[in-house]
């Protein structure tokens, strides 16, 4: 028989005859760093290989990016002579990269519009703000955004969408593709699981057709074929056409993610709700969807991030999003076309947005997991 005395650890609680033997868990041993790096032959080889790659790459990167780089220059001549990075180009061109060919004297408008959109996005993040007012706020925000960008009213000069470019285009495309695509995706997912044949066949058909097409071809179709199909005299803005294509595309993908969540909810949940007298709509809205969406936060985030980056594909139909504005800025012959620097800058903006989304989704996951130990 085991007694407390021959156990390796002392009991920490002792309350007489009926004592509960409570022991601390054995301390976790941490492997010393040398053992982690050189403990086995395999690890040693990996460590040496990594060190060699770092030694070769890092000094050259520092040389290019910092030591030999040009930070201030009024034109491209200094950059042409230097062997390092031409950061001065970004200083000279960041407005064109961010706002494209929007009239320079009017660029306070996209700046204000983008700032406003970011503020509304930030306000939308805490779940306690998710209510009817938020939907209203978004409608107002998008309307303000369009008025600010387009102008033609309130004494603002008219700037047609053909002159829009850069970050505002990327943002409005992403926001509409996801904001409008999401409710449609939910409807498609519910339709696909419906017992009624008509909604089911329509949903399955739409989802499968859209998923079977590359986004590029969808953009071409909406850009070229839609105007042909529409009656004479009726035209839809090019930006709006691309927006519609992105929205349909994201709706199809979001639908499948949401469907995955719906399938994970046990039948008993809907039964309990129906037994309480809840209508179908309330059962879905109050009981099924909140649980289904919580279950699919990781794949949902994945789709959202992919869609934000997919907006860059609108360059194939001649729209100037962030990426194509950067490319356009590079075309200036007075500068030596610093591709790497420009793309690094654009990549950084995308990364900040996408990494932000990713961190936010982790916060949502932790919050969802908090109370519900199952």
């Amino acid at each position: 028989m085991t007694t407390a005395s021959n156990l390796p650890l002392e009991p920490i609680a002792d309350a007489g005859d009926n004592a509960v033997l409570a022991l601390r868990p054995p301390a976790r041993r941490k492997a010393p760093i040398a053992q982690v790096l050189f403990g086995t032959i395999g690890n040693t080889l990996l460590t040496l290989a990594t060190a060699a790659i770092l030694l070769a790459a890092v000094p050259r990167l520092i040389q290019w990016g910092i030591l030999d780089s040009i930070w201030t220059a009024t034109d491209g001549s200094a950059c042409r002579e230097a062997s390092g990075a031409c950061w001065a180009f970004l200083r000279a061109k960041f407005r064109q990269i961010l706002f494209g060919i929007y009239p320079p004297d009017q660029q306070w408008r996209p700046l204000l519009a983008v700032t406003m959109l970011f503020c509304v996005i930030l306000y939308s993040l805490p779940p306690r703000n998710w209510d009817r007012f938020l939907v209203f706020l978004w409608c107002i925000a998008v309307a303000c955004f369009l008025v600010l960008m387009q102008g033609g009213v309130l004494g603002l000069t008219l700037v047609p969408t053909a002159y829009w470019g850069g970050l505002p285009v990327t943002l409005i495309l992403a926001v509409s593709a996801l904001g409008i695509g999401f409710p449609f995706g939910v409807i498609l997912a519910l339709g696909r699981r419906s017992a009624l044949p008509v909604p089911r066949i329509l949903s399955v058909g739409l989802i499968e057709v859209i998923r079977g097409l590359p986004l590029v071809s969808l953009l071409f179709m909406s850009s070229i074929m839609l105007p042909i199909m529409l009656p004479e005299g009726l035209t839809i803005d090019k930006l709006a056409r691309a927006g519609v294509a992105l929205t349909i595309f994201s709706a199809a993908y979001l639908a499948e993610v949401v469907r995955g969540g719906l399938q994970a909810i046990p039948e008993g949940q809907a039964e309990a709700a129906r037994a309480l007298g809840l209508s179908w709509v309330d059962t879905i809205r109050q009981v099924i969807l909140p649980q289904a969406l919580q279950k699919v936060i990781p794949p949902l985030t994945n789709t959202v991030i992919v869609m934000v980056k997919n907006t860059a594909l609108v360059l194939v139909v001649g729209l100037f999003d962030l990426l194509s504005s950067g490319k356009a800025a590079l075309a200036d012959p007075s500068w030596p076309s610093p591709f790497a620097e420009t793309y690094l800058f654009i990549a950084m903006i995308y990364f900040v947005i996408c990494f932000g989304i990713s961190r936010y989704s982790l916060y949502l996951e932790r919050r969802a997991a908090a109370g519900q130990v199952r």
Partner: protein, 263 residues
């Protein structure tokens, strides 16, 4: 005043008196799952305030039968009249019936994303259109009655099985149902938690609630049931007062079943 009701097959049936004393009436009810005849010729009339215990081997159709009463399952033949309302394909009527009939499930089926209090107020707010504060008062009243008011702000996953089932009972009671259906309410519980749930059910029975319980708790049946029903192969084989049922079962199948569950 009598009124005529439409039958499932669309024909107009004989009139039903809404003031009739029956809480639930099942007349010649049949149901099939595909080719499988799961309910055969069920005839059952339950008075208001009556407590019925239904037992039988698994697959005998007992759960299906009580699930037909609030239309979680659809019967294909015969008539079911709940509190004067006949169950037809009329969705409005089904919702009416569901408001009158509470149900407690084997696996509780609490909503895991809502707190205990929110579980209990959900239907009051969305079905009865009650104000949140009022709904919470009602919820706290019933949570106190099932003796767990202190758990109101926890999530179901943080409660024991017995506590969860008591929350499920409170959640049903919040809609002030006239009839309560229990579908094996203690089968998924650890043995030491069965009593707390049964005690809650006995309390309800004492207050005169009309109850239909599918259960194998024969002690409960002896204590509270007015009638015990034994089902097998989708049929009601035997129906009697608990005394007669246990002491003097009429059918061979009932005797066999009882000998297997009463040791």
């Amino acid at each position: 005043m009598p009124f005529s009701v439409k039958l499932i097959d669309g024909s107009v049936g004989r009139s039903v008196d809404p003031k009739a004393e029956a809480a639930v009436q099942m007349i010649d009810v049949h149901k099939w799952y595909g080719e499988f005849h799961v309910l055969r010729d069920i005839n059952l009339s339950i008075r208001r305030g009556e407590r019925i215990v239904i037992c039988g081997p698994s697959g005998s159709g007992k759960s299906t039968m009580i699930r037909c009463i609030n239309r979680l399952e659809e019967h294909q033949k015969g008539r079911i009249i709940v509190d004067g309302t006949e169950l037809t394909n009329d969705l409005k009527r089904i919702d009416e019936v569901r408001r009158e009939v509470g149900m407690v499930f084997q696996h509780f089926n609490l909503f895991p994303h809502l707190t205990v209090l929110e579980n209990c107020t959900l239907a009051s707010i969305w079905v009865k259109k009650m104000r949140k504060k009022e709904a919470e008062e009602v919820a706290m009243h019933y949570l106190t009655r099932v003796k767990i008011p202190e758990q109101a702000n926890k999530y179901p996953g943080q409660l024991s099985g017995g506590q969860q089932q008591r929350v499920a009972i409170a959640r049903s009671l919040c809609m002030s149902p006239k009839i309560m259906l229990f579908d094996e309410p203690t089968s998924a519980l650890d043995p030491e938690m069965v009593k707390e749930v049964l005690d809650t059910m006995v309390g309800l029975a004492d207050e005169g609630m009309t109850m239909l319980c599918v259960t194998h708790e024969m002690g409960f049946a002896r204590q509270v049931a007015d009638r015990v029903i034994f089902m097998d192969y989708g049929q009601i084989v035997e129906m009697n007062t608990p005394d007669e049922f246990f002491r003097n079962p009429q059918h061979e199948r009932t005797r066999l079943f009882l000998s297997q569950i009463l040791h």
